[in-house]
């Protein structure tokens, strides 16, 4: 009987849970329905039309933010039209199948935002949230996934991502392509962020609404569309890296050991670090331990051109079972194998220009002799910005080696040199 009683209680609990679950689902559906109905008119599909063929080349979402017909979307949605205004124009399509032309007014390339406007849209604007919602509340992303028509995706607000330099809202829900540039609304219908990217499996990211408010204020202060978009983007990139490197270089870089060397520890919030070694491999003939740190930030500029990445990496190598010749054969193979952390094409950047030198730190006793490589390539559209790659390996021990490496994307010469100087001073084996 006791068993029956327990079973009965468990069943009751389960039923309760189910009902409870159901009621949550019910209320979410109800909210979603209301939000959808209330805001349908203010959410648009944004289409990039190829002037020559007259067909759409890219689609995304956008939403009305004020009574003057100002519309917010992502920079990456309208990028084609920003880069080649003579070849692409921007169009909107409302839920009521009304279409019209959009004019590009301003962009914030670092936060992946853009402002466009329509002359005769006359839709009710969506209110922007003033305060950050508490973590765990239900929020709703709206947009046009895969050109399927306006859709609402319920999810959870999980706060501002702490691991990226440019703040992004962590939204637990499925954003799909085409929803980019659409709003994510709180239960009260206020915009809390702009849909921007997804890491898959319900991990998605939004640009916080504060970044949008800042861009709107900048635009309204100027009260005119940006004339030279390339110059505007270049300036934003220069300013952003300047602020980022000033902050980073002012930090006191913490170190941690790797083999007998000391390496740069995680520089928060600029990078996150990972590490590994081959010590668990039975076939390994030598010892290799590494630590890799990489920024989460990744500024989209064009189809195959991104920037803003910071990456540094360290290797500690010991010959172990190998003789010195074999050890150096491996070391040389590893040394030859470094590539930049960002993608770029011929129309975006020049070729890398590299130099190699033997460097011996002069400020310490028994300095180690190292071989250092430095490569830089310049941006074609954005003056004063470079991608740089640095590599330094010790060459004075025949049975052990310490290799340090970094790549910086979209950095000024001054900041790259200052970073290299600090990096070489901190990451060392002596």
């Amino acid at each position: 009987m006791a068993i029956d009683k327990t079973a009965g209680r468990a069943l009751k609990f389960l039923l309760g849970l189910l009902l409870c679950w159901h009621s949550i689902g019910f209320s979410q559906n109800e909210n979603a329905r209301t939000l959808f109905a209330d805001n349908k008119a203010g959410i648009l599909q944004i289409r990039i039309i190829d002037v020559t063929s007259g067909s759409k080349s890219a689609i995304g979402s956008g939403f009305v933010v004020n009574n003057q017909g100002l519309i917010a979307t992502n920079y990456h949605v309208i990028q084609l039209a920003a880069s080649k205004p003579e070849q692409y124009r921007i169009e909107y399509l409302t839920a009521a199948d009304k279409t019209g032309d959009l004019q590009l007014l301003d962009v914030d390339v670092v936060n992946d935002l853009a402002l466009v406007s329509a002359a005769d849209l006359g839709a009710q604007p969506l209110p922007l949230a003033v305060a950050e919602p508490p973590i765990g509340v239900a929020v709703f992303a709206l947009g046009n996934p895969l050109d399927l028509g306006l859709t609402v995706v319920p999810g959870t607000y999980n706060g501002i991502n702490q691991t990226s330099y440019h703040p992004r809202v962590h939204f637990t829900g499925s954003l799909n392509s085409g929803m980019s540039g659409g709003p994510t609304l709180s239960e009260t219908g206020e915009v809390i962020g702009v849909n921007v990217s997804t890491a898959g499996n319900q991990v998605s990211f939004l640009v916080p609404v504060t970044a949008l408010q800042k861009l709107i204020a900048e635009y309204q202060g100027r009260a005119a569309a940006v004339g030279d978009m390339s110059q505007r983007i270049g300036q934003q990139l220069v300013d952003d890296q300047q602020e980022k490197f000033t902050r980073m270089l002012a930090l006191d870089w913490a170190t941690m050991p790797l083999g007998q060397a000391q390496v740069v520890d995680e520089l928060k919030p600029f990078v996150t670090c990972w590490g590994g070694s081959n010590s668990s491999s039975e076939k390994a003939q030598f010892l290799s331990a590494d630590r890799t740190c990489r920024s989460e930030d990744n500024t989209y500029l064009r189809g195959k051109f991104n920037s803003g990445i910071i990456e540094y990496q360290f290797f500690w190598l010991e010959a172990d079972k190998l003789n010195a010749l074999q050890f150096y054969a491996y070391y040389q193979r590893l040394f030859a194998d470094f590539v930049p952390g960002n993608k770029a094409e011929e129309k975006d950047v020049g070729d890398f220009n590299c130099d190699d030198q033997f460097v011996t730190a002069d400020s310490v006793e028994n300095p180690r002799k190292t071989k250092a490589i430095f490569c830089a390539r310049a941006y074609k559209d954005y003056p004063q910005l470079y991608d740089v790659l640095f590599l330094q390996g010790t060459v004075d021990d025949s049975r052990a080696a310490f290799l340090s490496h970094f790549t910086l994307a979209g950095v000024s010469q001054k900041n790259a040199q200052a970073f290299a100087r600090k990096f070489m001073g901190v990451a060392k084996w002596q």
Binding site: Q332, K371, C375, G393
Partner: protein
């Protein structure tokens, strides 16, 4: 005055010759002729040559395939309306009957001056010796295996090394066999071990120069020594090897040998440069840096300070700007 009938082989070289005395010479497949040839396209009694003023009068004896005059030094005697039965052949004339080429020469015909033997040929008896070949081969094998072993950083397995060693050694052997065959054909003298030893020696010099330039280039941070100077010197090494092979396998004069060898190497150079030209000016998203590393024991000198290094980067950025100028 005797007449010499030379049977010519490939390239106009004399295969063998007949010496015939008397005022009239008969040539044909029949055994009663003065010159008996076995070519089945030649008639039993093919032609007759009669000694006349200034040469030999040719008479075609109604042969099936006739007589073709290939070369006749006294052009004047070949008048436009003459038939073959009236032709007078001068000293050095060449004719073709059936499939056989013949040269008709007076025994007073001058011959080329004797060619001086190449030093290498004089010493060939020494180079063509087993006692030189064996240590050379062992040395090449040791260098080959050591290089493979020194470059292997995974668990050493003989079966993997063996295929690579075999490939190299078979290649060198084939090269020696090729030259041996050429010598056998052109000079009836293979000198196989001589060629093999030359090739092994060149392989050793190649390995040594490769290593030497690697170390010097690394220490001077001078990549061009490794990517330009060393390959050019190696091409010169190939030219020297070829010239020596020619000296052993052919009767070419020194000048001809060098022209042929250097010409061949230049051709190689042109082909490889043309091949690389395709990539010149092509954009690469990856940096090309001088990644060579050498053992501490092979290093000379120290390095510059971090400050000097950072300062030197100014020029690098300026050059990067120039590389990004839009065309």
């Amino acid at each position: 005055m005797a007449v010499i009938i030379e049977v010519l082989g490939w390239g106009g070289k004399s295969r063998h010759h007949y010496r015939v005395d008397g005022p009239s010479i008969s040539i044909g497949r029949g055994y009663q002729n003065d010159v008996v040839l076995s070519d089945s396209h030649i008639s039993a009694n093919h032609l007759r040559l009669d000694v006349v003023e200034g040469g030999w009068q040719l008479t075609d004896l109604d042969s099936l395939n006739g007589v073709e005059i290939i070369k006749n030094p006294s052009i004047n005697s070949v008048s436009a309306d003459s038939t073959s039965s009236e032709i007078v052949l001068a000293d050095g004339a060449e004719i073709k009957i059936g499939r056989t080429r013949l040269r008709i020469i007076a025994d007073s015909h001058p011959v080329d001056a004797a060619k001086e033997l190449h030093r290498l040929e004089k010493d060939v008896g020494q180079l063509n010796r087993f006692s030189i070949w064996l240590p050379l081969l062992l040395l090449v094998l040791i260098v080959d295996i050591t290089a493979l072993y020194a470059n292997s950083f995974v668990e050493w397995q003989w079966k993997n090394a063996l295929s690579s060693i075999l490939f190299t050694q078979v290649f060198l052997l084939m090269l020696a066999l090729f030259w041996g065959a050429v010598g056998r054909f052109l000079r009836e003298e293979a000198n196989f071990l001589g060629h093999y030893n030359l090739i092994l020696l060149a392989a050793l010099v190649y390995s040594a120069s490769d290593w030497f330039f690697g170390v010097i280039g690394y220490n001077l941070s001078a990549e061009f020594l490794i990517v330009a100077v060393a390959p050019l010197l190696n091409l010169m090494l190939v030219a020297v090897l070829l010239a020596a092979n020619f000296a052993l396998a052919t009767s070419m004069l020194a000048r001809q040998r060098w022209i042929t060898s250097v010409g061949f190497v230049l051709l190689l150079l042109i082909v490889s440069v043309a091949n690389q030209m395709q990539q010149w000016g092509e954009f690469s998203p990856y940096p090309e840096y001088f990644s060579a590393l050498e053992l501490p024991a092979l290093q000379i000198g120290g390095g510059e300070s971090v400050d000097e290094f950072i300062l030197s980067l100014d020029d690098l950025f300026t050059e990067a700007d120039q590389l990004a100028v839009k065309k």
